[in-house]
């Protein structure tokens, strides 16, 4: 018998079921469309990233400091090769991977799955392996980073790891620029989720890495490293570093740091030799800091260039310390305070300044701050402001103590004296270029802030010239050129005190007066035979300066003598 009520219930349930299905369909097809589509694509497609070639690193004289070579890695997967074919596969693969057939066979037996059979092979091998048409054997394109000049500028250029990622030097700081953007492809997977390459679709077109054009000059870099090596050999120093810089725009022509390393043969170097001492080692500058104190005093009008400074007594009592001078000098003109590197004179000048004035000048020269050179791990140096000074601090600063600086910071400060008072930040990268050599980010020199008036800078440069002509820096002289500079010998500070017998010798200067075009800073760490900067760093400066002047074609100045 027909039951209307039951029929209504059945229809109602059917409608309800249909409604549920429709709602679910709407949910899947409309609301969650994108999610399910991407999930489906993820299951059936394989995303393949293909690295683009890494950019080169080139010096300003167009020498290739770092470049990449395309290489090939051969892999094998014994699971995908029929066991009865192993012998023939091994015999056919062996000559391609420069191994014996027995060796290849052993590796097939040893491995249970995918393994690299041989790496760093000629790309031609790829074609030969493809001709074998053997499942389970294939090639991968790789890159080998090559450093044709070996250890030359090794600490500046840096190195990459096994995956081609920059680990030190410019390779690290410009890693993203050098790497470029990888191309992204989508390929279909087969039933075993392996890529089939049947439907290769380019999703994102990659961009090859850009090349870096450096301000370094390979010839000058070589000269610097050669002379630093000679200095280390002659003085028994632990290490040495040097910076050659153009004072007009801060371009670094050479950054030497020894002991150095060959980025292509990292295993042959000790880890402690892999740092760039010119940027990472902050050391007390000693008397090389005295010109900064004199500059501060002249800038604030508490010292006149023609003034006589009382350096009598052979020493000076500051708080509870008596600081000696090298000799009893009496009254000295300011230029002789620097030429003779009088401690008493420098201290008396420093105490004419209010702490804030000295602090302002020191900071304006860039001490205690990174120079922002394009090198990773650059040290800020150590400089405490007046709030942390003791009664002795101004005396310490006058002698280049209570402050630690990197050779780059010293070069930056001396460049300001050489160029008429502008602080220019050192820089290494002139521009980046695409693969075809077109500039991508061209060089834009930054106008530096004035820290000294041109008049003060000129007076200071003349005083520093006297240091080389008649003072402690005579061994830095270069025949035919007017050289200005200052020596600095500092005891090595260690664990809050000074360790006897360990010194740092500095010489910072520029040539050729009256319009210097190159600033050179030499820092010799822990010389053993003789620690005086006048005997250790000044001659190294002189040799470097003489050769750099020749390489740069600097005209000898009429009337200049050594």
């Amino acid at each position: 018998m027909f039951n209307v009520s039951r029929m209504r219930w059945i229809v109602l349930v059917a409608f309800a079921w249909a409604a549920v299905v429709v709602v679910r369909l709407v949910q899947i097809q409309l609301v969650g469309h994108r999610t399910w589509e991407s999930e489906s694509a993820r299951q059936r497609e394989h995303v393949l990233e293909v690295e683009e070639p890494r950019g080169d690193i080139v010096s300003r004289d167009r020498r290739l400091l770092a470049g990449s070579l395309e290489r090939v890695t051969v892999y094998a997967n014994p699971r995908k090769i029929p066991r009865e074919a192993w012998n023939s596969v091994a015999s056919r693969l062996a000559p391609l991977v420069s191994q014996t057939a027995a060796g290849v066979l052993d590796q097939l037996r040893e491995h249970d799955g995918f393994f690299y059979l041989a790496k760093d092979l000629d790309p031609q091998v790829s074609d030969e392996v493809a001709k074998l048409r053997q499942r389970g054997v294939g090639t991968l394109r790789t890159e080998r980073r090559v450093y044709p000049h070996g250890a030359l500028a090794g600490a500046v250029v840096g190195y990459v790891n096994g995956d081609g990622a920059g680990q030190a030097g410019l390779e690290a700081s410009y890693d993203r620029t050098l790497r470029g953007v990888p191309s992204v492809y989508r390929v279909l997977r087969d039933g075993k989720t392996s890529p089939t390459f049947l439907d290769l679709r380019l999703e994102t077109e990659g961009r090859p890495g850009q090349s870096l054009v450096l301000s370094l000059d390979c010839r000058i870099q070589h000269v610097v490293e050669e002379e630093l090596a000679r200095t280390i050999a002659e003085t028994g120093a632990k290490a040495a570093s040097a910076v050659v810089m153009d004072p007009a725009d801060g371009e670094l022509l050479a950054v030497g740091s020894l002991p150095s390393y060959d980025p292509g043969h990292l295993g042959q170097s000790a880890p402690e030799d892999r740092r760039n001492r010119a940027a990472e080692d902050a050391l007390e500058p000693g008397s090389a800091f005295k010109p900064i104190v004199v500059a501060a005093a002249m800038s604030f009008g508490v010292l006149d260039a023609s003034e006589m400074v009382d350096c009598s007594g052979g020493g000076v009592q500051i708080a509870n310390a008596f600081i000696h001078d090298h000799a009893r000098y009496g009254l000295l003109p300011v230029r002789e305070v620097l030429a003779k590197s009088s401690n008493v004179g420098a201290i008396r000048i420093a105490y004419r300044l209010a702490p804030g004035q000295l602090d302002e000048t020191i900071r304006a020269f860039g001490f205690g701050q990174q120079t922002n050179v394009e090198l990773p791990g650059e040290a800020r140096g150590i400089y405490r402001g007046p709030q942390s000074w003791s009664a002795l601090s101004r005396a310490g600063l006058a002698l280049g103590e209570e402050i630690s600086t990197t050779p780059l910071q010293v070069a930056q400060a001396y460049a300001a004296i050489a160029n008429g008072g502008r602080v220019v930040h050192p820089r290494l990268v002139l521009e980046t270029q695409d693969r075809s050599g077109r500039p991508v980010t061209p060089y834009k020199p930054q106008p530096g802030a004035h820290v000294l008036s041109a008049e003060v800078a000129a007076h200071l440069a003349a005083m520093l010239e006297a240091v080389v002509e008649e003072g402690t820096g005579r061994l830095a002289a270069v025949p035919g050129y007017r050289v200005a500079g200052k020596t600095g010998t500092a005891q090595r500070a260690h664990s809050g005190g000074y360790t006897g017998g360990r010194h740092v010798a500095w010489f910072a200067g520029f040539l050729s007066m009256p319009s210097p075009s190159v600033v050179i800073v030499v820092c010799v760490d822990e010389p053993t035979s003789n620690y005086w900067a006048a005997d250790v760093a000044a001659p190294a400066f002189g040799r470097i300066a003489a050769r750099v002047a020749t390489l740069l074609g600097l005209q000898p100045v009429a009337g200049a003598s050594a």
């Binding site: 470049g67 050669e226 000696h324 402690t472 270069v478 025949p479 900067a533 003489a546 020749t550 000898p556």
Partner: protein
Amino acid sequence: MKVGGYRPANSWLRRQLDTRWRRWLVVCFAGAVVVSVLMTAFIAPRQATLRMRYEIAQTTHSVDRLEREQRRLLLERESLSSPNVLTADLGTLGLAPIEPGSVAFLSQSGDLVFPAPTPTPQPARPRASRRGR
């Protein structure tokens, strides 16, 4: 069944010849020609394209190979002409390091200027001091 005196014959039948066969033949031939021309016109450029693609692929492969070789040679040249290597080979090359005093310059007036070879004086050696100089 045989009927006496009657011999079946079809001589009274005259074959009706289709006189349109020539026209059909011409039409078929013309059609074949048209099809051939069309096919040739369609296929020939594709075949040329295919051939060009093949040649491009081959040339690209050769260019890649030559670029790799050029790159390898460039790096080798850089390595061999590195200042470090040249310095080590100066003697072999019959060269000698240039001393600063042996370099002359042309002045703006055109005169050859040699830097004054003044011997470098020895610096005054200070007494040892805790403070640097």
